[in-house]
Amino acid sequence: MDLAFSPDERAFRDEVREFIATHLPDDIRRKVQAGDPLEKDDYYRWHKILFDRGWAAPGWPEEFGGPGWDSIRRHLFYEEFAYGWAPRMLPFGLNMVAPVIMEFGNDAQKQRYLPKILSGEEFWCQGYSEPGSGSDLASLSTKAERKGDAYVINGTKTWITAAQWADWIFVLARTEPNAKKQEGISFILVDMRTPGVTVRPIVTIDGGKEINEVHLENVVVPVENLVGVEGGGWTYAKFLLEHERTGTAGIAGCRQMLNQLDELLERENIHDRRLAERIAEVDIELTALAFTELRVLAAESAGKRPGPESSILKVKGTEIQQAITELALDAGGPYFEVPLARRYYNYRKTSIYAGSNEIQKNIIAKRILKV
């Protein structure tokens, strides 16, 4: 048993730390630190800097232009993002649609889409949830009717982050209306500039405008935009969700928020024993989760596929994130600071997105406890 990072891994971490410190534009760093909303150009500029360094797609294998890192290096890389106040990388192209195209797409699709995801030239968004289909995703009702060499898509997709900036959306749509629920769903790539696609922003309780509803009205899409086989979409969707769930513990981000909280207490000269103990409890639980994440990563780097264990990271990680925002709110006391409140409201989303925490508990019960 050797629980330390190797000298190579430490050197790698230092290299990433140094790179972020010297290359991340100051205006972007300040926004992330303050929790201010980022613009498309902020994401793009940072993506471009990483692309030029060869680090834009940490999760990609080398054959598609990725660095070919193992799970430990990817983990260290993303942790350094949080420590250095770098913006997160938008996952919709890089970590969601790209792995599906690599695994199930044809050569033409790989050549058409992957290089522009890698370079950041094309932004993507996700067309999964619908007004009537949240956790029960397979109940989705968006339809794609085959007409000659095209699909005609009709339906509404919702809770879509970055749709206002996206060039493309990957859509789960029903191609076989009479098939059983999980069958007859297909995975289709849609150009956002196609006539009939409209984007409507949804303002969230924190005042944010991150998410949108996307209406698809008689949207005509060439059949070559189908990924894999018609009716295979559910399999690809599940594959994508497994990819999405890994790395959601957000340990370093939590450490940063705790540091900010400590700074707040120091600045405001707050000495409250109960608050100090509540913070310490969250800090301790975060340490326990960080170690749990390392155990999962070590298993993955030893060749084990990412499994249902990532549900633990999702549930506990988001609970801790929320607990910290709650502590920050309480630390503000009567001085109900707007940025603290905004983050508290915003972070309520974390236990809902990427498979709600209740869904994660179903996964743990079924796949780990086998009940």
């Binding site: 048993m1 629980l3 340490t287 030893a302 743990i364 019960a365 406890l369």
Partner: protein, 365 residues
Amino acid sequence: MDFSLSPEQLLIKDSVARFAAEHGEGKHEDHWPTFAELGWLAIGAPDELGGFGGPIETLLVMEQFGRGLVVSPYVAQVVLAGTILKDAERSDLLEQLAEGKHRFAVAYEEPHARYDAASVDTAATKTADGWTLRGKKVRVLDATSAGTLIVSARTEDGVGLFAVPADAAKLSLEKYPSEDGYDVADVTLDGVSVGADALLGDAGDGLAILEKALDHATAALCAEALGLCSLMLEATVDYTKQRQQFGVALSSFQALQHRMAEMYIELELVRSMAYLAAMTLEDGADPAARKRGISAAKAQIAKSARFIGQQAIQLHGGIGMSEEYKVGHYFKRSTLVERLLGDRDYHLGRYVALRGAAVAEPVPV
């Protein structure tokens, strides 16, 4: 990074698991010589005494003891007393311990100390040919079977540790059972005389040696808690799969599935913290970092183990309340382990005092 066990470590784990499966719940006092033969009493001892391994090996032993509900005085002897004797460089005494020939009990806690080892009123006064000890110690683990008590007492130089024969004149033991039947005693020293060689280490080093040994023992308890919790969850999952109500297995109800998923998440935190505690000791971290790591582990485990234990009883329903059924025994042992050598509040307090700013690294590796 590699979490896999070496062949030697797997061997220890398997042999302890076999013992626990064969002999089941109990103290197994008569098997103490077997433990010595198998080398379990020499874990952590120096090589020249036939010792091997360290905190990870201790974890493996204690986890299996927990799973089997083997309530042996292993922690009090091998880990607590053993670490003191090793750090005080008393290989003469440590050898006797490792061979299973002689038993020790560490008498450190005082009536109003509430787990704090630094709160020492017991006094050691220097005499012409040794020391005189006067004071009271409470809840001494494994005291009645010990031939020697290791007593902390205040000297002119700080706190010293003294090896006192259990049958010394003016020393009295008041034995009573703890809530799970474990052997504890209060000890009164009413002017007990000991020789100069009774002092372990230097007269001012005792507290540092004691606190380190207590941290080792606390880590071992964390590992025991891991074993207890893992078994309580397994028993609960099995039971809800078998128990039929409303014509279906209890495990088919989502309210219970989610509860068990929550128990599983807590169990994984317990597992992580048990390993983190052992690792903190393996690293030989400085005392502040060591205390912080151990207190984090114990505070988290105390919280998670209480949740797992309470839910194990709840999900078993009436049978969980029955003294005849095993899950209640695990719950009681777990409740005791939670509080032994410092409960959640104590360790949280110690952690807060040592915390300072949040650490920049996810774990101390």
